[in-house]
């Protein structure tokens, strides 16, 4: 469940039950630092780490590029940490480095964005691609009344999971009769940079005067798009939905720019990933299909095919419930 831990935030510091286990050391490597979404997942991970009593630290580049991540993976290998939790900027580029880390027996758990399954031990999946795609189409569809032009504002053009979702959405649009009157006219990339996403939104509206809605399956993108819409003449005319964090979107849900959007709780994602990593290190699980492990407040989880662990279904935020969340 998502609401389950709205006491999230900096609560990492409180107490810390297990304490002593210095032998268990976990490094968290997000796509890049200074990204609200990953800050939240790191908070969750840190919380888990304190509960387990693992030594925890977050490192990362300030731009989301794979080569920048490689040197951090190398460092983890040098330090001989027991586990690495990362969100991959590139499915293939990191594999060599990860192999090196694993041969220095570091357990590698990916979350949010996966690498090739054979590189890592486990992937913590926020939600099934189908689920996410369907959810966003459903939202946009009833915001634009089931007909009209829509466009997608994605992260970088080679972001693994965004691309997966976009494919799903495209096929869904093609097959599902409910969406017969919805036309996907354009897909643009904001590279998860505020200004770029902002300008891309402007370009979308400019080049597609009849645009009815925008889907932005990335937290940076949706925030920037909302920011642009909120004071453009298209406000209210062009619907916007996608994946965003409540804190970033609250402003725009309240001023009516956005009616609803979806997301899982990144905090839970990090929390779960940390428990999975710990389980791997302790040897409770090997990452084989069918293994199951306990993840603190979140209960027990089972490893699916290709070493994937599924967090749950995305959750929809709107004016009524957004007040209950802080991440």
């Amino acid at each position: 469940g998502c609401g389950s831990d709205s006491d999230d935030g900096g609560s990492a510091s409180d107490g810390g039950s297990g304490g002593g286990g210095g032998d268990l050391s976990i490094t968290m490597l997000p796509k890049n630092l200074g990204n609200a979404y990953f800050d939240t997942s790191t908070d969750g991970a840190e919380k888990a780490a304190t509960e387990i009593g693992a030594e925890f630290e977050e490192v990362g580049p300030d731009t989301a590029s794979p080569d920048a991540q490689v040197s951090y993976i190398n460092t983890v290998a040098q330090q001989g940490k027991s586990a690495l939790i990362l969100s991959a900027n590139d499915p293939d580029a990191l594999c060599d480095a990860i192999d090196e880390a694993r041969s220095a027996d570091v357990k590698v758990v990916t979350f949010d964005a996966d690498t090739n399954p054979d590189c890592r031990d486990l992937f913590i999946n926020q939600a099934t691609a189908e689920g996410i795609a369907a959810k966003q189409l459903e939202l946009i569809s009833d915001q634009i009344g089931g007909k009209g032009e829509i466009a997608i504002l994605s992260a970088s053009a080679n972001a693994t999971n965004q691309n997966a979702w976009i494919d799903m959405m495209e096929s869904e649009l093609a097959d599902n009769p409910d969406y017969a009157d919805i036309e996907l006219v354009d897909t643009v990339y904001g590279d998860d940079e505020d200004q770029k996403s902002f300008d891309q939104t402007e370009a979308l509206l400019q080049n597609h005067p009849d645009l009815k809605g925008i889907i932005s399956p990335t937290t940076v993108g949706i925030a920037a798009a909302a920011r642009y819409l909120s004071d453009s003449s298209s406000k209210g005319k062009v619907a916007l939905t996608g994946l965003g964090t409540p804190n970033q979107m609250r402003e725009y849900v309240e001023d009516g720019t956005v009616t609803s959007f979806a997301l899982w709780n990144p905090g839970d994602l990090g929390y779960l990933a940390t428990f999975a990593a710990a389980a791997l290190v302790d040897g409770d699980i090997t990452g084989a299909e069918g293994d199951s492990f306990d993840a603190g407040d979140l209960g027990t989880f089972e490893v699916g095919a290709d070493g994937v662990v599924l967090l749950g279904e995305p959750f929809t935020f709107d004016a009524d419930n957004i007040g209950d969340f802080d991440f």
Partner: protein
């Protein structure tokens, strides 16, 4: 005065100072000592720095900078600068990816990428050496242009499916030593550049141009051609670095190696090359590169964020260029004091002019 054909009236000692002095009392030695000190300190105090993987990762990380620093040193010694090297890396990286994606074998694609680097260098060289434009402005322009072409060709997508054996070549080590394979081509190039700069007539020309290009021109040094050659070298070596970069990370992206030009220039200046041209030696530069590499590696092991590393590199850069003029300024203070108290001509002055 004897006639121009008479037998030499006197002979001269070749050197004013003993060998050890000429070698030890130099900026280069200072950098090398500093680097050694940092390494020793890290070995002693930074956990895991003495680990088995450190050397390999370190060399792999600094390899591109080591490579580009070679031609960059010569370029800066002539008093010019090349800010477009990182963009050339990006462009060659993208070309390698695109061509390989189009079914070309890695070596063939790499060859074309090198050629592209040569063309980039030629454009810089032509505009700077023959049109006579300031290298700063030109290479700021080509920095944008080359990067723009790279990004334009590939957008923000990445090409990652490189044949394993080539990728391994980039990441592999010599035998089961800890030295990455890339150090072999580097060593070859390094020797080549040392000979070119320090033991060839061409190299003498490079220094003369840096010290006084007008005098060099008056002495028959072909200033334009020399600069052209250097920018060609810079272009092709940058392309090589770009290829290595691509294969090592197994991903060809338009934004690969963004900002590397700053690290290269920082390292070169840190290594004792004067931004005004005419001064500097390659061994100092290589030490400078290693110094920066060791610093960032050690700091990463200490889990210091990349930002702090950048701050340190920036400070080192500023300090390394400021220091000489600060010392010079301090020196210039001394005669001023002398002028305060009107004294007769100072004896040492007379000594200096005794042989006039």
């Amino acid at each position: 005065m004897s006639t121009a054909t008479a037998t030499p009236a006197r002979t001269y000692s070749s050197y004013s100072a003993p060998l050890w002095k000429r070698w030890l009392v130099t900026r280069e030695t200072a950098v090398i000592v500093l680097t050694a000190a940092v390494i020793l300190y890290s070995l002693a105090n930074v956990p895991n720095f003495d680990g088995p993987l450190t050397l390999k990762f370190l060399l792999q990380d600094i390899a591109p900078i080591l490579l580009i620093a070679l031609p960059m040193t010569l370029v800066i010694i002539t008093g010019e600068i090349d800010l477009s090297v990182a963009s050339i890396m990006g462009l060659s990286s993208v070309l390698l990816g695109v061509l390989h994606d189009a079914g070309m074998s890695v070596p063939a694609a790499a060859l074309l990428a090198l050629l592209a680097g040569l063309v980039c260098g030629a454009l810089n060289g032509f505009l700077i050496a023959y049109v006579g434009l300031p290298s700063l402005a030109v290479t700021i322009g080509t920095l944008a242009l080359f990067r723009g072409i790279a990004v334009g060709l590939l957008g923000t997508t990445a090409i990652t499916d490189f044949t394993e054996k080539w990728a391994d070549l980039a990441t592999g080590t010599i035998g089961d030593s800890r030295i990455p394979l890339v150090m072999i081509p580097f060593a070859v190039l390094a020797v080549g550049f040392v000979v070119l700069l320090h033991f060839s007539t061409f190299g003498r020309g490079v220094y003369e141009i840096g010290l006084n290009d007008e005098a060099a021109h008056f002495t028959g040094v072909n200033v334009a051609r020399t600069k052209m050659v250097l920018f060609l070298l810079s272009g092709v070596v940058s392309a090589l670095a770009g290829i290595y970069f691509t294969l090592r990370y197994g991903s060809a992206r338009g934004d690969n190696a963004t900002g590397y030009e700053l690290q290269v220039i920082a390292a070169v200046l840190l290594g004792g090359v004067s931004i005004f041209g005419g001064r500097g030696r390659l061994h100092g530069v290589l030490a400078g590169v290693v110094l920066i590499g060791v610093l960032s590696s050690a700091l990463r092991l200490e889990s210091v964020t990349v930002n702090v590393t950048n701050i340190i590199v920036g400070l080192l850069l500023v300090a390394s260029v400021i220091l000489p003029s600060v010392l010079g300024w301090a020196g210039s203070r001394l005669p001023r004091k002398a002028s305060a108290a009107p004294a007769g001509p100072r004896p040492d002055k007379d000594a200096a002019t005794a042989d006039v």
